[in-house]
Symmetry: C2
Subunit: 282 residues, 2 copies
């Protein structure tokens, strides 16, 4: 039986993503931060880890991308991905009206995704408190007088999943938005996945400091007719305005055309690492 | 005399950036959000606006990028940029020790930039409260019993600029980090800047949905020997995993080679807009 670590506690969207992928065939362990999920995998305390990487409204989960940059020698690799539609709920104690709310607890991504709704429906001076997960936010709301220094706040709500509200017998109302809200999660592991029918490879690289370097880096993919599905840049954090690039493309690492592209790519980069090569399930 | 709107209140890093660029030759107006700065410019209540766009540690200021996407017909254009070194200070009431702190107020970007330091020096269950600016955070800390529902929090600090602490006669200690921390700000306006000795152009575009579209979009720049200094992608928010791209390159819009590149670029895009073309001062 696989042990799967996920960004917890229970009832987070990452928990849902892990269950969607591994079902009942796994033992689940929750970890308080993205960093902890990686560490559990690296220390072989979990076979697989599940972390969020991108949301369709808010973009990259920079914590996760930066973990790949900060520990770029990590043996953990991406072994798969899973996509989950996100429906946020405003979870409040019974009898509290929206206009009375003084504070909202949630994960920074959830707060950002709901910013438009919060602005339209809640007091302008509403206090937003960052929690490490949506489920943690619901827990904190329930226990705030016991656990939390902000004990004087009378009317607090949380943004989280309906399941988290149900677990505490709380009322949950959907936060509606006409925009498509999905989160993409990565599976990380020390195992190497088998090549599937359709595959994806994720790269991390840094470009040589010269004109046209990005174009030159993409040329091998064009030449080998490999389709890039995604490009993302993040600051190197070592020198201002220097970047690492994350690229996803269709194909498996062992394919000859991919091998040729990677070899050619090396000439334009100062750093290059395959973060993972894995079958695409959807 | 120019009227310059900036993301305020006084003593924010954006205020510093505005002063660095416009000096004493301007009348300054502060606005509570990035959105308000754009609106003051669009309604001709300010000649120029100053907003943060990128930090060397935390990356893109997504609020600002998304404003360009959400209001992509805005007449406001980028007319210049300015870079400011960032030094954050922990600002606390006299006699409060780090270990006693229960909450820290600041702008989400400042909280993110200091996350490593906060984790190393403060209690693990520290509450982080998002404010609309660093200066607002200092104000809120000073006035929290009056203004703020989190009145029971006894020991609160803020992360902000030293000038904000000085204005309130508070102690400020630098938050040290060995990484280079700079923020880049944009000047926006309805005026069209003159071509300078060295220039930069900023584009926003969406790619046609076909293999190799990004490579094809970059090809005209390579052909015209135009150097890209920056690429950033943001979710379209209309359809999951569709993106808008922000590109900066050296050159002025009216140059024939730039005109040719833009004309060629149109063939790979479903949307294309020049966000601005302006002299580079540094």
């Amino acid at each position: 039986m696989l042990t799967v670590a996920y960004l917890g506690p229970e009832h987070t969207n990452t928990h849902l993503a892990a269950q969607k992928r591994f079902g009942r065939q796994a033992r689940y362990v929750h970890a308080p931060t993205v960093e902890d999920v990686f560490r559990l995998v690296e220390r072989r305390q979990a076979d697989d880890g599940v972390v969020p990487v991108e949301n369709s409204l808010e973009g990259a989960v920079t914590h996760t991308l930066d973990r790949f940059i900060d520990f770029r020698d990590s043996p953990a690799r991406i072994v798969g991905e899973v996509e989950v539609p996100i429906q946020h709920y405003l979870i409040a104690p019974p009898g509290v009206r929206l206009s009375q709310l003084q504070a909202v607890y949630s994960h920074p991504q959830a707060l950002a995704q709901c910013r438009r709704w919060l602005r339209a429906h809640l007091a302008r001076d509403i206090v937003l408190l960052e929690m490490s997960s949506t489920a943690e936010a619901v827990e904190a709301m329930v226990n705030h007088s016991r656990l939390h220094p902000a004990a004087s706040l009378q009317h607090i709500a949380a943004i989280g999943r309906q399941e988290a509200a149900r677990a505490h017998h709380l009322h949950a109302s959907p936060i509606t938005d006409d925009r498509e809200n999905k989160t993409r999660f990565l599976m990380i592991s020390l195992r190497r996945p088998q090549r599937g029918r359709r595959n994806k490879t994720s790269l991390l690289f840094a470009l040589k400091d010269r004109p046209g370097a990005l174009y030159d880096a993409l040329t091998p993919f064009k030449r080998e007719r490999i389709n890039l599905s995604k490009i993302e840049s993040r600051p190197s954090k070592q020198k201002a305005w220097e970047y690492f690039f994350f690229i996803d493309f269709t194909g498996f690492e062992s394919e000859p055309r991919v091998q040729r592209a990677l070899k050619a790519l090396k000439a334009s980069t100062t750093f290059l690492r395959v973060l993972g090569s894995y079958p695409v399930t959807r």
